[in-house]
């Protein structure tokens, strides 16, 4: 009997704009100059916020957090492809997505500042809170997607995670469930090539993350994750497919974490300065700026104006964050259940009376 080949596959990689900012007109997504300016402003603002958060952390005004430096195009480009009624199920490295989803950014500062009230998002945000256990949240996107489909809503779900997350079993279960149920889910892997100190090659022996889609029966595409046009284009197509009932897609945004893993990490311990320099030359923000300058959409005055506006916004958010009244101890007992149990009521009472006793010096 002859051996037959059952499956063979290729994985497309989409690039629209090269590091010099030159675009392939045939692949350029349908974006108005206004939209391109909005994307640029969002990236600038995200970077300024990220920088400012680093300073706040160093000054002890917020706690440990995960920076997004270098990954602005990947998560902002993908989030921009969503409509208001769509859902976002993030990990923890998606600061720009907060801006696009209309979450007041002072909330993000409050959350990273160690105050859980920062996760109390405006009603109807359709964005889940930050999820710290790596690789476990994508199943929730599948469940939400299933519900949207069952409701006959045309909303889709974007879930974002890292390359490290693809090693967790839950990632594989989520991919499988999404494909089996044809859930309208877009899996966006921000492959920044590192999971703390573990490089991509140690995470998987597969040449791409995108090809993992093949095994589950869904399309898998790699995009240049530092090219916001490519990320937007590919995500938008996946969103449309999902909206039309054509099921899930896995997108690998090939990018780079230009910062330390978090503010507690020191990446110099495990990667070279040369590698970082290589990627700094491929900075996603500078790349978009180059395109816009050449297209006559950005001159020095406009650049300065965007920067100034971003600075002002960030300053306002920091002010709003610092003006928030401190959390009260009762907050610990709120939202454990819809109704506090008798034990919780008693324990809260116990805490408050011990604090009173302490005030009275007992």
């Amino acid at each position: 009997m002859p051996v037959t080949n059952l499956v063979s596959f290729t994985i497309p990689r989409v690039e629209v704009m090269d590091p010099a900012g030159t675009v392939d007109a045939a692949l350029m997504p349908d974006l108005t100059p206004e939209q391109i300016r909005e994307l640029y402003a969002t990236m600038v603002t995200t970077r300024k916020l990220d920088d400012r958060m680093l300073k706040l952390q160093r000054q002890g005004r917020i706690g440990t957090f995960a920076r997004v430096l270098g990954q602005e195009a990947a998560h902002i480009g993908a989030t921009y492809a969503l409509a208001k009624e769509d859902w976002l199920v993030p990990a923890f490295r998606e600061t720009g997505s907060f801006l696009l989803r209309g979450i007041p950014p002072e909330k993000l500062l409050q959350y990273w500042g160690g105050d859980e009230r920062g996760h109390d998002f405006p009603a109807g945000s359709r964005m889940l809170p930050i999820s710290v256990p790596v690789g476990t949240h994508m199943l929730h996107a599948v469940g939400i997607g299933w519900a949207m489909k069952h409701n006959k809503e045309r909303a889709v779900v974007l879930t974002i995670f890292g390359d490290g997350a693809t090693s967790e079993g839950d990632f594989h279960e989520a991919m499988n469930f999404a494909a089996v149920f044809q859930a309208p889910v877009i899996f966006l892997c921000q492959n920044n090539q590192w999971a703390i100190s573990v490089p991509y090659e140690r995470q998987t022996a597969a040449a791409t993350v995108a090809q993992k889609a093949v095994a589950y029966g869904m399309p898998g595409i790699q995009v240049d994750g530092n090219d916001i046009f490519a990320v937007y284009r590919v995500t938008k197509e996946a969103v449309e497919r999902a909206r039309n009932g054509e099921g899930p897609t896995l997108i690998e945004a090939h990018t780079y974490r230009m910062s330390d893993h978090t503010t507690s990490d020191d990446a110099r311990r495990y990667r070279t300065a040369e590698e970082l320099a290589f990627w700094q030359e491929r900075d996603p923000l500078e790349r978009l700026a180059r395109y816009m300058r050449a297209a006559g959409m950005l001159d020095e005055t406009a650049e300065a104006a965007v920067a100034a506006e971003a600075e002002a916004k960030v300053a306002g958010w920091v002010e709003a964050f610092e003006a928030k009244p401190p959390s009260e101890p009762e907050e610990i007992f709120r939202h454990v259940f819809a109704e506090p149990t008798p034990a919780l009521v008693a324990q809260q009472e116990e805490l408050l009376s011990s604090l009173n006793a302490a005030d009275e010096g007992r």
């Binding site: 440990t64 105050d115 079993g169 573990v198 140690r202 311990r269």
Partner: protein, 326 residues
């Protein structure tokens, strides 16, 4: 003697066991080149190489499941879970396999494995980095559970855990990783798993704790002694499973009163087990109900409210007074 903190003591135990037994393998996320996020395994990768200090993909079930297989095949894996809050993907492997392989194979296959994890709160960390969930391991027959409270114990207990023929969960209170230094023997030594330690003698009340709160307990006892009110005996449980009820009960028979300090949520915690066993062993000597100072039955709060959640010296003193005045 060497003057070590808890991180260094754990590292010394790992290094000496790796030197002593070529079958000892360290594996986990970021344990190799990076030396672990708390730097516990720093230098081991350089000394022993990538085949014995193994950076794994990011998958706790993978780490523990593979360690089980390595142990079955004759190795002594010491797996690191980056924070105890991320062990749950591996809980299935621990409960369904590590704890029962010996039993299932009627002694034919065994799992001499250690799973180390930073544990507990007090470092203003992110969500999932502050939990004290030791009870979920203690409740699993076939797992041993060790929680050291100082560098000396950490080294001796970890060495014993690595040499132990059965799976051991080794919880390292990260709050005290660098809080204290003490003289620790340079040579290798073991401390028995299953022996509590009286860390302060006293006659009025027995104060029982483990991990980071042994310090809290000692401080409370010292305050009360300075004030000249009560003379409190403090016991460090050290290994929750197997639990040394004999030492604890002997103390309570002497003092007639007991208070347990645990950081974990109150309901279903190990303090409840201690109270029950004391009731069984010393009901006639107990002059008051066994008191508890615990975390609340809530999600541990993020940094801003963390101090309200954890047992503190003042709260322990208050409970001691209440138990004494009962």
């Amino acid at each position: 003697m060497a003057n070590l903190n808890l991180v260094e003591a754990v590292r010394e135990a790992l290094r000496q066991e790796m030197e002593h037994d070529p079958k000892v393998i360290v594996l986990g996320e970021d344990v190799g080149r990076n030396g672990g996020v708390f730097r516990v395994t720093e230098g081991l990768f350089q000394q022993f190489g990538p085949d014995r200090v193994v950076d794994t993909p990011l998958a706790e079930s993978g780490i523990v499941g593979m360690a089980i297989g390595m142990a079955i095949a004759g190795y002594r894996p010491v797996a690191e879970i980056q924070f105890s809050g991320f062990v749950y993907p591996a809980y299935d492997q621990l409960v369904s396999h590590a704890s029962r392989m010996r039993n299932r194979s009627r002694g034919g296959y065994t799992v001499p494995m250690v799973v180390r994890m930073p544990y507990g709160g007090g470092i203003r960390a992110l969500e999932h980095h502050s939990e004290s969930m030791e009870a979920v391991f203690v409740h699993v027959p076939g797992l041993k559970v060790v929680i050291p409270s100082d560098p000396y114990d950490a080294k001796g207990l970890l060495t014993a855990a690595i040499r132990d023929p059965d799976p051991v969960i080794f919880c390292e209170p990260d709050r005290i990783y660098r809080a204290v230094r003490m003289e620790v023997p340079e040579e290798s030594y073991t401390l028995p798993l299953g022996e509590a330690k009286v860390v302060r003698e006293g006659f009025d009340l027995t104060l029982i704790s483990w991990g980071a709160h042994v310090r809290t307990a000692k401080q409370a006892a010292d305050h009360l002694a300075e004030e000249g009110v009560y003379d409190v005996e403090v016991i460090d449980v050290r290994t929750l499973s197997p639990f040394d009820i004999n030492t604890v009960a002997a103390s309570v028979v002497k003092t007639g009163r007991a208070v347990v300090v645990q950081e974990a949520p109150r309901t279903g915690g190990f303090a409840s087990e201690i109270a029950t066993q004391l009731m069984e062993r010393a009901i006639l000597q107990l002059e008051a109900p066994v008191g508890r100072v615990t975390g609340f039955d809530t999600i541990p709060p993020l940094g801003r409210l963390e101090d309200y959640y954890h047992p503190d010296v003042r709260g322990v003193m208050r409970q001691i007074r209440a138990t004494m005045e009962f």
